[in-house]
């Protein structure tokens, strides 16, 4: 009971902090800093005291089933907390770094326009961090994981009146989300593996785990690969590495806390947490180790050629995290945890003092200059040296990789649906969807051989709509409606799979419908007020003139994308539980459309509300700045 109280407080204290910070007026700098620093100090203290007690008490992992959000007998959605050594280390490092950073930012951000926004976002991040670290099952972890993604987006786009931060925020968010496909699929597969939403503590029972995995070694490997995908994306490992340096757009302390220390180490956390899943699968371990090692080898030369301080630290950190992947794969978990903590502190501090590098290095040079130091690479044959240099300067084309092989093809497919407009969408959608509904109620009409493919087909249609939403250039409202429509198709498609309670579909679609309608209305208001500057071809920065619309649209977009503020997010997991374990295609279509739908929504938000304001009556930055 005591444990339950304290461990719950690890999440509740940050939750309280975040909620309270929303209530403080934007001019009240002292209020924010007191709240943030005070809350984190208390949190840190409780963590330290509890952890000491826990270590002395024998270090037994603790599982706390916190809150049942949904239960229909066969399916339970449970917020579940878990405390073990990994949690302890991550909790402590997180609280310690956040404590210092909030204190730092209190002065550093003085007089900055977004003071309130900054503290709100950092506290939101802190809540997400603790929830993820304490998560006792995949569902809880996923809630935290999604919150991390959004807070990350908001902090990178902190300077939302400039072009590059906004563009890079969307980019980073997109890559994060691609990684999330991994988590969704892992959740789905894991559900089928255990026939329930498994708690992490159950995984400690080696016998059960081995038995299950041995029976389904295919699923086991599938889960491991999915987890690796999620971990690699979050920790900027190959092929995702190029997002990390691009994320350094916010105020330095936020870059330090996010991309220097906490956020970027979540991949390592995920691997440590899910180690029992793949512990006995050599293929998975080799794969994870190989990704880590390859990343280290690629990030190393890239770090060496960086001529800007923050990107240099970013790539150096990526290389170290690569090593951590290797350590985890080898099973050296204590070493990995020490490595994590050390790297987190080191990079945070290096980023914080990064502006000092000018004075320090110039002075260093002034007193110790040598015209050209011979570096390791100078000893290579010239051609090799030059090639490696150019390749590293271009970051091994990692950034182009995603555009060319992921986003570009999707856009190309999406453009095939360019005949759709906000006006005619319903003309196409309603009849076809109606037909689908009719078929649903009269399933006997469909030949048996075909019936098997119907869910896949419908979710494929849904996915196409999302592709179109993602590539839409002209109509923000259309893009929004398409993402909504996708959810309807997925729901319909899965409904063909097996009979289940209509209320489950309702849970899934209610959030989408309400939030979507509201979002549509908000967009329409902006369109009426700025008819000449309303499409998705560029960033318009309307948030500068309509901050309220911007904020509410963001909230509705989160609702539509199934963020844990609308019932959709439970419904999503629920719907997934009805996808059979052999329906990899259906699961993938659904996961991909879920992920891309989120990206498309954030893209609408960014293009309409963020970026340099189209109006020329106040100071505006050049796109290149």
């Amino acid at each position: 009971m005591e444990n339950q109280l304290i461990i719950s407080s690890f999440v509740l204290i940050p939750l309280f902090g975040f909620l309270a910070s929303l209530l403080i007026g934007s001019g009240n700098e002292t209020g924010f800093s007191r709240l943030a620093v005070g809350m984190v100090s208390v949190h840190l203290l409780v963590i330290v005291v509890f952890t000491i007690g826990w270590i002395l008490g024998g270090r037994n992992p603790i599982n706390i089933p916190e809150l049942v959000i949904y239960d229909n007998g066969s399916y339970r959605f449970l917020i579940d907390l878990y405390f073990d050594g990994i949690t302890a280390v991550y909790l402590f490092v997180g609280a310690f770094v956040t404590f210092l950073i909030t204190r730092y930012s209190r002065f550093y951000l003085h007089m900055e326009d977004g003071y309130k926004r900054f503290f709100n976002t950092v506290l939101f991040f802190y809540l997400a961090y603790n929830l993820t670290v304490l998560a006792g099952n995949f569902e809880t972890l996923f809630v935290g994981w999604e919150m991390l993604g959004i807070s990350s987006f908001l902090l990178i786009a902190f300077y939302r009146e400039r072009y590059l931060p906004v563009r890079n925020a969307v980019k980073v968010f997109s890559i994060y989300r691609i990684g999330d496909i991994g988590i969704i699929l892992a959740m789905w597969a894991s559900h089928h593996l255990w026939h329930e939403n498994i708690n992490f503590i159950t995984l400690l029972n080696e016998e059960t785990v081995n038995k299950h995995i041995a029976e389904h070694s295919g699923i086991g490997l599938f889960i491991a690969v999915c987890l690796l995908l999620a971990a690699a994306a979050k920790s900027a490992q190959l092929p995702f590495s190029s997002w990390l340096p691009r994320a350094m757009e916010g105020p330095t302390p936020s870059s330090a806390i996010f991309y220097g220390s906490l956020s970027v180490h979540f991949g390592v956390f995920l691997l440590l947490r899910t180690f029992p899943y793949w512990e006995n699968q050599l293929t998975a371990r080799i794969l994870i180790g190989a990704v880590g090692l390859a990343t280290t080898l690629v990030a190393y030369p890239i770090a060496r050629v960086q001529s800007t301080i923050k990107t240099q630290i970013a790539y150096a950190s990526i290389a170290q995290i690569g090593l951590m992947f290797v350590e985890v794969a080898l099973g050296w978990h204590v070493l990995a945890l020490i490595h994590f903590a050390g790297n987190a502190f080191l990079r945070t501090y290096q980023l914080l003092v990064s502006p000092s590098v000018v004075a320090y290095m110039i002075r260093d040079q002034f007193y110790h200059f040598q015209p050209k130091e011979i570096s390791l690479e100078d000893t290579f044959p010239k051609r090799l040296e030059y090639s490696l240099y150019i390749l590293s300067l271009k970051e091994w084309n990692l950034d182009r990789f995603f555009n060319r092989y992921v986003f570009h093809p999707i856009k190309k497919i999406g453009r095939k649906l360019d005949f759709l407009t906000p006006r005619n969408l319903l003309l196409y959608f309603l009849p076809i969807y109606g037909l689908g509904l009719v078929l649903y109620f009269n399933q006997e009409w469909i030949p048996v051989q075909v019936r098997h493919y119907v869910p896949g087909l419908f979710s494929f249609i849904g996915m196409m709509l999302v592709f179109k939403a993602f590539s839409e250039r002209n109509y923000p409202r259309l893009a929004l409606m398409l993402v909504m429509a996708n959810h309807f198709w997925i729901a319909l498609g899965v409904s063909f799979n097996e009979t289940f309670d209509f209320s489950q579909t309702l849970i899934y679609l209610s959030g989408v419908s309400i939030a979507g309608t509201l979002g549509y209305w908000l967009l329409d208001q902006v369109r009426k007020k700025e008819p000449d500057h309303f499409d998705l071809n560029q960033y318009y920065g309307h948030g500068s003139r309509f901050p309220k619309y911007g904020l509410f649209f963001l909230l509705t977009a989160l609702g539509v994308m199934g963020f844990p503020i609308s019932p959709t997010f439970i419904g999503l997991d629920l719907i997934y539980s009805h996808i059979h374990e052999d329906q990899y295609l259906l699961a993938s279509f659904a996961a991909i459309s879920f992920i891309l739908g989120g990206i498309a929504l954030i893209r609408i938000y960014a293009r309409v509300f963020l970026g340099p304001h189209i109006k020329n009556y106040h100071q505006k930055a050049l796109p290149s700045s």
Binding site: E112, M248, I309, Q320, L352, E377
Partner: protein
Amino acid sequence: MNSKTSFDLHHVLHELGHYLPAQSPLKDFVHHNTLHAFQDLPFHMALQIASETFGYKVYWDLEKFQDLYHRGKIQPAILERAIREKMGEDQLERWKQLMLESPVQEYPKPTIGQFRKQWRKAYNLNLDKEVHQTLFRLVSSYLDQGIAIWKFPAGNGGLLTSFRKLEEGSFTACLKSSRARNLLFDPKTKLQDLLAILVGKEERYAQYLFDQQFAHPGWSGMVAVLEHQPQSLLDKKKVSLHDLIFLESLLEIDALDRRRNGTWTPLGLHVEDSFPGLFKEFQPSEWFTMLSLWQEALEWSYFDQVIKGLQIKPKTNGVKNQKSFQAVLCIDDRECSIRRYIERFAPDSETFGTAGFFNLPFYFQPEHGKFMTKVCPAPVTPKHVIKETEAKIRHEKDAHFSKHSKGIFGGWAISQTMGFWSAIKMAKNILRPGETPAMVSSFKHMDPKGKLSIECKNPDHHHGLQVGFTLEEMTTSLEGMLKSIGLVKDFAPFIYIIGHGASSVNNTHYAGYDCGACSGRSGSVNARVVATIGNNPEVRNQLRLRGIDIPESTRFVGGLHDTTRDEMEFYDLDQLEMDSKLIHERNQSIFEIALNYNAKERSRRFHTIDSTQDAAKIHEQVKLRALSLFEPRPEWNHATNALCVVGKRANNKHLFLDKRAFLNSYDHEIDPDGQYLLGILKAVAPVCGGINLEYYFSKVDNHMLGAGSKLPHNVMGLVGVANGMDGDLRTGLPLQMINIHDPLRILITVEHYPEVLMKTIQAHEPTFQWFANEWVRLACIHPDTKEAFVLKEGELIPYVPITDKIEKAQDLDKILEATSENLPVYLLA
């Protein structure tokens, strides 16, 4: 420019370099007029043209002006006078209504970039997105001064040469199109050939290049500066604007070829002949006129009080007391208040202001230093060098900047071990700030225990410079300084020569905080050298021959004032006799008190400090700020500067000018024909004017003319800062330097006869331009009648202040504690 039919590349490159931001690398940061290219035009006209062409915001927001009017910060009478003078009496009502009631309007769409934007229209292609990243990285890696561990491998013989070498000798390449590669490797390719491919029409070349380069003015400006000022890089790199443009044009051709598979036509063919060029004919506009009138009203609401105040004859008791000491400080506005406190706590003292290199230009080479640093105003090229010997090393190492932490195994070992040390250091630095190797301290510029080669022993030369000064040179420069500040008799037993510098940590723009007259360095060496010269018996003999008789007992003492920490240190005290030492210690304790109070006055602008506390206590907190990693404003530097007063201190000592004034001591009686005045104005107009205008423009358009918020800045190759990973270099001042600055042009007031002043400023054309075009305002106070004159359209016109009374500050300390706003002029009690 568009009228030219044939394309003159050399001319265009020159023009481009002229319009691009002229900001040196960070270590040599010096304030200058951001819009220097427009200085040959009258101020308001220039601003309108700059805005219409390049899209800068050039005035404060209309809403801000209206708000200031309603809050009484802009005087209605002054506003009306401004309208009346410019528009005529009959227009008064119309304009007043317009200015007060007009809603905010959009600025006109700038012409820059419009032509090149047509790529997007023609081929739906954002060339900037295709080209900038590669271009910035190449230039940044090439120019890098020490961040990258693996240096640019293909030499430093020119950007283009090196790039060619790199591309030729590599398996992989930046340029993918074979046409672009051939153009690069063909030694006969000229920039004009590339433009022919890209633009096609010769009459559009220049416009295209402006569009192209002004899409990233930061990097282009840096390259243009380094082309003419290669000594600003310690690690020398040859670079030119031509090479940059050549490279960029190649990358553009490459991008177009790649994206269009070679099927594209030059941009010139996609626009009509009637497509507007870059520079439009000047057309007066209601919008800009309105803003310019507001600007005048804002400025004169303050200046009017100042002129009124200067017209008041201070009370003198007639008795000439023996002075206890005289202190010569820099004219810097940050010394304005400390002088007030020195005079307050030592009423029998006298203070002077002059440019902080004290009329002695030279290079300084510290012991162990591999380079020389210039310690005089930036435009001056010294012929002398002062070398330091017997000094200890003042450079500590910090492993956090070491390259080992960036490698694989080094990084592994370091993060496992030093990582935890970082945690402790970080906690300590955030909870209890203290000195670190990363900080910049003005006191470390020179080792007080070291020896300086001041006297020229034999005319041997060091890199073409003379080491030390000859007797004749020393005498002349000291004579010049003393005469220009009017200190030629009544010498006190102590004459302090005090330079200044600043301390900060985590501050990329640290050079901008030091003494501007010493090229962004601390003024300690200059002060120490001048004091030593002043104590030289032979120099005194020579001076006596020239009519300046300094008593034998008078001692010169050099010192340094750290404006951030408000600390002073004094040099060569061991050379004082015992009894002098005691007197000096008494003086020093007065300085200490003055410094405490100065810190207290400054603290009213620091939100973390409670200004009502005891001065000494506040001083401790102010010192701590300078060491705090998390403090983006260690001091306010020149923010709020608005005035430069040239005249006898006795005639402005009675005024409270709120740290807003550069104070230059000058006695017109010693200099009836304005010979020294010319020297002063020649320096003051560009130096103070430059500082003032950089603050002005960084304030009114912090996004395009300033550097934006410094919080996200990323250091690029040690030469500049940018946002994020792939941003353009940011020029101008960061937001954190100008938060509290009001954009006023500087008013220079001179105490002399109007006809002499007029003759003086006309003697030097570049200086005259500053005044005549009203980039700085000039007022003349008649020394006998106290009548005021203001320079308007090149003539001194009598000026009668509207202000009828200057309030007396009964308790200045209370007034200062009460507000963090700018204060009006007060009479000191």
